[in-house]
């Protein structure tokens, strides 16, 4: 099920505790899933379904997830057991250079 998402949307997994914030998405509908099941609006999660074992690597709070071409980016706001996938491809953690605190 492909949906056109917009930056700022808060989404939740329907198989685990995971929640994400949309930072950047392409201007086309995408099939966004966590743990193999379509995501829902964080405010509208219903009953949980089963996690796809092939997509159970988990997500960690504070990590940013992106596709290989970096056309989209999601911030994990709550950790969960499912892996984020878009159109069937699992997303990876965006590598960030560690910066010293300047504040």
């Amino acid at each position: 099920m492909s949906v056109q998402y917009k930056a700022g949307a808060k989404l939740a997994s329907t198989v685990c505790d995971g929640q994400i914030l949309v930072l950047r998405v392409p201007a086309v509908p995408v099939d966004l899933r966590i743990g193999g099941a379509p995501v829902a609006l964080a405010s509208a999660v219903g009953e949980r379904t089963a996690i796809d074992p092939a997509l159970s690597g988990g997500i960690q709070t504070g990590k940013r997830y992106t596709d290989e071409a970096e056309t989209m980016e999601f911030l994990c706001t709550k950790a969960g057991a499912g892996t984020i996938s878009v159109d069937g491809v699992a997303l990876g953690i965006k590598a960030a250079k560690a910066l010293p605190s300047s504040d």
């Binding site: 930056a7 700022g8 949307a9 808060k10 914030l21 930072l23 405010s43 709070t61 504070g62 990590k63 940013r64 911030l75 706001t77 709550k78 950790a79 960030a96 250079k97 560690a98 910066l99 010293p100 605190s101 300047s102 504040d103």
Partner: protein, 496 residues
């Protein structure tokens, strides 16, 4: 995106960690979240269009910042050091605000004609409110998170606008979530109305680093607090670091937990940085360069850069101790000439910056970004081959002597090299023959007998003759504002 998300994440993942220590009181992330929900409820109850804060730094400032975000209104911290008339004038520009303040009968209330149209709430009542806003933060990435009045050193204060997406881009790009150890703590001495005061709150909350608030800087108090709270991190403006270094020279430091000192917000003489590194050899130093309009830091000279520069014998590498470092990964910096053409490394011009964290807009003036997103900082500077940025003062401070543009920075750098010169400001003074002439105002070390002629000779030796100050005046101290910004206009006025 909404800044409130940062606090929700912190409260969810580390609710029991202490977020803020102030005096004898601690507040955890879970408590900070509840307090912010109460603040948002008060904004709604008052029907306020802004949440303003006019008090010294305290727990109520972070509460107001996040409470405003949840309520979907701008947070407007105001400089409590301004005169009553100045405060009244600023309040008149934010009608409909709910104002948190710590004075029962504020002098500004009767300073100007007419009621500024704000609703007052005391710090105590603000923090103690029990009504809770239980809803979600609005999804309002393009709406305004913070409005900061600039210090107005060149005219009436401008209201700089920082949107949620600007500040989020800065935090997500520069801070690791829960990157701090549980016992890490940072002293916050920058005032709440300064952009560094805003970024200190956001960075600390996202990193999970306890903030220890010190409303007024004093080197002795700072050291006592640092020892007592086992402070690991701190940010200081240049004048604070200078005063700390002078204090440490007399009393050896007892700072076993201190790992990192960042400084920025103004010109920092390399000699003081070297002295600080000498006194605190195990501490990592970071120089941060940023502006209100860029959501804080855009370039960093990191700890490895500091050590490499200090150990280098090559003058070009050693000079990097006086640079503000390289652009953050999510920011581009370019040097352009007056006509807008990009200049190669080594050539001085105007500093431009681009990136998602760059806001570059003001109320009434709109956005100053060009069609490609570049913001003119009005700072002058140049970059070396490796991208290290060297600042050379404000474009507005350039001295025009007989049609020749002279940057005060290069003359100040030469004069600062003299062992007896403790501080120096080079400014324009009116001149019948040249239009403007170069004047140097110098603070000498106690007991020094250096003469005007000796300092003129030093500049003549190192720079072109047009750079030699026509006048050198010796003073006890230069005028700075409380966040370490040299008040050049005051220096110029004193010469006139």
């Amino acid at each position: 995106m909404n800044l409130f998300t940062l606090l929700e994440m912190a409260a969810d993942a580390m609710g029991d960690r202490i977020a803020i220590s102030h005096g004898e009181h601690d507040m955890t992330y879970a408590e900070l979240l509840i307090a912010a929900r109460r603040a948002a409820a008060q904004v709604h109850a008052a029907g306020a269009t802004r949440l303003a804060y006019l008090a010294v730094n305290g727990p109520a400032a972070p509460v107001a910042l996040f409470g405003a975000a949840l309520a979907g209104v701008p947070y407007v911290p105001i400089n409590y050091r301004l005169t009553d008339a100045e405060i009244a004038a600023l309040l008149a520009r934010i009608p409909g605000a709910l104002l948190v303040n710590d004075v029962e009968t504020p002098g500004w209330a009767s300073a100007n004609d007419g009621d500024p149209g704000v609703t007052l709430v005391s710090v105590m009542a603000f923090i103690g409110e029990t009504l809770l806003h239980a809803g979600d933060a609005p999804d309002n990435d393009r709406s305004i998170a913070v409005e900061l009045f600039t210090s107005g050193t060149t005219g009436a204060p401008k209201a700089a606008i920082l949107r949620h997406d600007n500040l989020m881009a800065y935090i997500l790009g520069s801070v690791d979530f829960m990157g701090a150890d549980e016992d890490d703590a940072a002293i916050v001495t920058v005032p709440p109305y300064h952009v560094a005061g805003i970024s200190a709150v956001l960075s600390s909350v996202y990193a999970g680093r306890r903030m220890v608030q010190l409303p007024a800087f004093d080197p002795g108090d700072w050291l006592m607090l640092a020892a007592r709270h086992r402070i690991s991190n701190a940010f200081l403006v240049p004048t604070m670091l200078q005063r700390l270094v002078e204090h440490l020279g007399k009393t050896p430091p007892d700072l076993p937990a201190l790992r990192a000192l960042a400084y920025g917000g103004g010109r920092m003489p390399p000699a003081i940085v070297e002295r600080a590194m000498e006194l605190l050899p195990r501490v990592d130093f970071t120089n941060a360069y940023g502006l209100t309009e860029t959501s804080s830091t855009i370039a960093l000279l990191d700890p490895a850069d500091h050590r490499a520069a200090r150990a280098a014998s090559d003058p070009a590498l050693r000079a990097r101790l006086g640079s503000v470092g390289r652009a953050l990964p999510m920011v581009d910096i370019a040097i352009r000439d007056e006509a807008g053409a990009v200049l190669p490394p080594g050539e001085a011009g105007l500093v431009f910056v681009r990136g998602d964290q760059v806001a570059g807009e003001y109320h009434g003036l709109g956005s100053l970004l060009d069609s490609e997103g570049w913001f003119p900082t009005r700072d002058r500077g140049w970059m070396d081959d490796a991208g290290y940025l060297f600042l050379d003062g404000r474009a507005d401070d350039v001295i025009v002597r007989g049609g020749e543009n002279i940057s005060p920075g290069e003359i100040e750098a030469v004069l600062s090299d003299h062992p007896d010169v403790r501080d120096v400001a080079v400014v324009a003074m009116p001149d019948e023959q040249w239009g403007e002439a170069v004047a140097a105002v110098v603070v000498l070390a106690p007991g020094s007998t250096v003469t005007e002629a000796a300092l003129q000779a030093l500049v003549r030796d190192r720079l072109r003759s047009s750079r030699v100050p026509a006048l050198v005046r010796f003073v006890e101290a230069l005028p700075y504002n409380e966040t370490g910004k040299l008040l050049r206009r005051v220096v110029r006025d004193q010469l006139a």
